[in-house]
Symmetry: C2
Subunit: 156 residues, 2 copies
Amino acid sequence: MRIGELGKATGVDRETIRYYERTGMLPAAARLANGYRAYGAVHLERLAFIRHCRALDMPLVDVRLLLDFLDRPRNDCADVNRLIDAQLVRVRARLKSMRALGRQLEQLRGRCNAKHATTDCGILHELVAAAQGEARTCHGDAATAPIGMKGARKTR
Amino acid sequence: MRIGELGKATGVDRETIRYYERTGMLPAAARLANGYRAYGAVHLERLAFIRHCRALDMPLVDVRLLLDFLDRPRNDCADVNRLIDAQLVRVRARLKSMRALGRQLEQLRGRCNAKHATTDCGILHELVAAAQGEARTCHGDAATAPIGMKGARKTR
DNA sequence: TGAAAACCCTGTAGCGACTCCAATGTCAAG
DNA sequence: CTTGACATTGGAGTCGCTACAGGGTTTTCA
């Protein structure tokens, strides 16, 4: 199998495959007489594994760890569990913030349903107002003070 | 206001502020006699606006567009709407795939509740099997969504 | 007064996970 | 024999920061 075929079989870009090889996630492929990479079933399996993990949004460092578990089995898989748990935590956290994000955007979108001058655009007004509110409420009193303030630092 | 104060007021790292200036999102600050940047209310507002948009997960290109609308108002805000709509579409799509992701990971996690040898780890087995199934089914079909969701922001 | 801490400057390099490009080589079809 | 699809390499670019290195300035405290 040449790189293009492997790419088609797994839905992975050729450049990405070479990148995985460069970074040691895929073993270096054998070469044909003309220098082209020659792949076998092993590569296909491994690449599919990587992509599946990536589809689960795991960072490559974690995928590398899992690959290592496959390559050199241990007599304790607790680390695998930990890894999946951590991933789950990440995903759940992002899910939560994404939901809030969606709500905010929907609200924002509702502010402007017609075309008019940008000076009257409810969305822009809302964005500006919200930003001002945040600067005032979220990060201390410095925001409200006029320009020339000196001293009065707070520890971060 | 010097850069540190602005940073504290908005919760933005100094390096990030300088980065925004370098990339033209913030106008170049005036300088004090010693070369330190001097910021005023305008900068604070603008920076808060940028951060609010970023909190809505908008890419900086879009934020730049919005800033441009603020700087040079048009007599048509349809582009603003389009921009927000696009962002909403992005967020909804990600939300959906995140939900699926969470379910998959939960299922995966359920495969292994105890410590044992990695050769017997249900999670690893499941991952390998799922990957193989995918490689088989997606043969030649380019219908799979791209994996890299790099808009994934960590909260500050 | 002097030292230490905290702040600021510029410029450059690094991150993750690709993605794109140029310049070149190889091979099958028409 | 040319065209086009495929392959190779090395290097640079992407996004949105973040982290130095190596200097200068200001504030604080003993």
